[in-house]
């Protein structure tokens, strides 16, 4: 009975993401983008805390790594979605682009955390030097996500 | 239903389903031995526990032993294990029927104790510290 319930629950979770009705598809896009927004917000908070020496590097690294996984989930939710009409298709594409951008920024943030921790990435050119640069990049990614979210009618 | 004479006036009625079945069995030191999974009825005239005679309808019968082990499976799923596989605790070893059944013998002396004894000798007792008393300072 337990396994049946778990199986039912997990299949129910799957149907939400790939449902065929336009409203449902839009809601699925909004869900995935909101999830990505949460990941970017967590990364921003972590970066500012690490910059202020209020958080230890293992915790900061774990926090950002966990967000990379969350973004992966959002990406999967968007890529596996089958949009039933043009409107939701456009929303999905916008969402994918914004989530991809957010993922890139969070991955950069992780490299920055590693450098703060004294890792051997100090010469890598793609990593911003200061926390404020990084935070600005993350803020931009967050704004992009918010724009898609507004498009998809999420709060 | 079986009757167990109690000291003083009258007789205490013990309901097999309510007061015996599925009750915990403790040995003389208070160590749990098993649970009462089933009860064996034998003919009242054959008191020889080594060769109990099955209770026959219409004849006086009495409680021969507490049964445990494989009979639990057959009580759940139906059927009946062969008599050779019965795990028995003779009723004469039972000293008191309360919220648990208290025996007058030690668990180690009972046949039903073999799985515990086997694991003790061959597995748990062999791991370092397996015979260490946790209540003593280590």
């Amino acid at each position: 009975m337990l396994t049946l319930a778990v199986a039912l629950a997990s299949t129910a979770g799957c149907t939400v993401a790939s449902h065929q009705e336009p409203g449902q598809a839009t809601a699925a896009v909004a869900d995935a983008v909101a999830q990505a927004g949460s990941a970017v917000a967590t990364t921003r908070l972590t970066v500012s805390l690490l910059d202020a020496d209020r958080v230890t590097t293992p915790v900061a690294d774990a926090a950002v790594l966990d967000q990379v996984r969350v973004l992966e989930e959002s990406t999967t939710a968007l890529t596996t979605l089958v949009p039933p009409d043009d409107v939701s298709s456009a929303q999905r594409d916008a969402g994918l682009a914004a989530v991809a951008d957010a993922t890139a920024e969070v991955v950069t943030a992780r490299a920055w955390v590693a450098r703060e921790a004294g890792g051997d990435l100090s010469t890598s050119g793609a990593v911003p030097l200061t926390a404020s640069e990084l935070e600005a990049d993350l803020a931009r990614a967050a704004d992009d996500l918010d724009a898609v979210l507004a498009l998809a009618g999420g709060a | 239903m079986s009757r167990e004479s109690s000291s003083g006036a009258g007789v205490r009625v013990v309901d097999a389903r309510l007061h015996l079945l599925s009750r915990q069995v403790l040995d003389v030191d208070g160590e749990p031995v098993t649970t009462v999974d089933d009860l064996e009825l034998v003919a009242a005239d054959a008191r020889d526990d080594d060769a109990p005679r099955d209770a026959a309808p219409g004849e006086p019968a009495e409680l021969g032993a507490i049964l445990t082990g494989p009979v639990l499976v057959t009580r759940l799923l139906g059927g009946r294990p062969p008599a050779s596989r019965w795990e028995r605790v003779p009723w004469r070893d039972v000293g008191h029927v309360g919220t648990a059944l208290e025996l007058t013998v030690r668990a180690d002396s009972l046949d039903v104790h073999w799985p515990e004894g086997w694991l003790r000798e061959h597995v748990v007792g062999r791991i370092p510290g397996g015979r260490h008393d946790p209540e003593e300072a280590s």
């Binding site: 337990l2 | 749990p32 597995v123 748990v124």
Partner: protein
């Protein structure tokens, strides 16, 4: 003086032992999504666990019979067997979540991958079960778990708008962005986290382990009635920290690392370290309790010799059960399933399983053959009936809500 110290120790252990990975994760998730609008569930859950734990402790102290012996005796082999299968499975799920929680917390402390910590954590749990005296185990885990009070300290350091927090809590005002079904799903999850059935197995068997008698009932009552509500306050502090820092930032908690960020913001690395030690201790203590509970339930159903107070060789099957349960938990975690997901599942299924343990205890607590003069009073029974309804409603609603909300997503 010594007696007073004993009372204080009992209370402190009860506070530190109250919070486990289920409380930690569920409260933080709820705080970050619903603010304090579900605090009432924590209150209902704490009153419930007080009622339930004191009743099962009283039954064990007076009759010397632990919970699952009673379940077997009352329900018979068939119904009790089904109950055992469900309780054991859910307890195993909780054990898995706790061991995973230790590994995640150690990951935060060390940046060594959680998968490497899982076997180490399980081995440490086993060594304590194998070797350490019951009272020592209880007290050390409980006292270190008290470090979670760091969440309360963090809340004060954050200096939140208290009026706003109270407004979220009374009357409960869920945020407009969340669906009603999701709100109720998390209400059930929070209730299951506060009233996990293993606490009852553990509490009643622990009373037997510590050799309680009717004389210890007063101490039992004080431990539960003071310790658990204070432990409940810790849960609320965890939710409040998330509500103050994470909710406004639009962060939905999905990992342990997010739960400690508000603490870092409020108190810096020192307070963060204190809280991480607290999390390790709380999850470790709960892992011990759930591992023991797996042994307790099976041994008590089958009438095996059990108890940590015996030499392991004198309770061989009991100790072997715990080893197998720990190995199964490690096996489940090694499939790289997310421990936070396991935790969320375990609290919901705990809510489903609650009536299975609750109903037999309520029946036996009213049985003069077991309880003599210590049968339930009228007030306890009235409260008991109210909770019977709540527990059954939560159990029935849990799985439909889980399916309807896609497990709260």
């Amino acid at each position: 003086m010594k007696k007073l110290l004993g009372v204080a120790l009992g209370i402190l252990t009860a506070i530190g032992g109250f919070v486990d990975i289920g409380d930690l994760v569920t409260n933080a998730v709820v705080g970050s999504r619903f603010g304090l609008s579900l605090v009432w569930v924590v209150v209902v859950g704490v009153v419930g666990i007080c009622l339930f734990a004191s009743m099962s402790g009283r039954v064990a102290a007076v009759s010397g019979r632990a919970t699952f012996e009673i379940i077997r005796e009352r329900l018979g082999p068939r119904a009790a067997g089904a109950n055992l299968a469900a309780s054991f499975a859910i307890n195993l799920l909780t054990l898995t979540a706790e061991v995973g929680g230790i590994a995640l917390a150690l990951h935060l402390a060390s940046s060594v991958e959680p998968r490497l910590w899982i076997p180490v954590a399980a081995l440490a749990v086993w060594l304590v079960l194998w070797r350490v005296k019951f009272e020592v185990m209880e007290n050390v885990a409980g006292l270190l778990g008290l470090l979670l009070v760091g969440f309360g300290v963090a809340l004060f350091l954050l200096g939140p708008d208290w009026g706003e927090l109270v407004r979220q809590a009374v009357p409960p005002s869920p945020p407009a962005t969340e669906h009603v079904a999701t709100y109720w799903y998390y209400a059930v999850a929070l209730f299951g986290a506060a009233m996990t059935p293993y606490e009852v197995f553990f509490f009643s068997s622990g009373a037997v382990e510590e050799g309680w008698t009717a004389k210890d009932l007063a101490q039992n009552r004080v431990n539960v009635l003071v310790g658990f509500p204070l432990g409940g306050l810790l849960s609320v502090a965890i939710a409040a920290c998330a509500a103050v820092v994470l909710l406004p930032a639009g962060i939905e908690v999905s990992s342990l690392s997010q739960i400690v960020l508000p603490v870092a913001q409020a108190g810096g690395t020192l307070l963060l370290a204190v809280v991480i030690v607290g999390i390790v201790a709380a999850t470790f203590g709960a892992a011990l309790e759930t591992a023991l509970s797996s042994g307790y339930t099976l041994a008590q159903y089958l009438g095996w010799s059990w108890g940590k107070f015996r030499r392991p060789a004198r309770a061989a099957r009991f100790h072997l059960t715990m080893v197998v349960a720990l190995l199964l938990a490690v096996g489940i975690l090694m499939t790289s399933v997310d421990p936070v997901t396991v935790t969320e599942m375990s609290v919901v299924f705990s809510a489903v399983a609650l009536p299975l343990t609750y109903v037999p205890i309520l029946l036996v607590a009213n049985d003069p053959e077991y309880m003599g003069e210590h049968v339930n009073g009228r007030v306890t029974n009235a409260l008991g009936m109210v909770y019977l309804v709540i527990v059954v409603v939560a159990a029935v609603a849990a799985i439909p809500l889980m399916i309807a909300t896609g497990a709260g997503s």
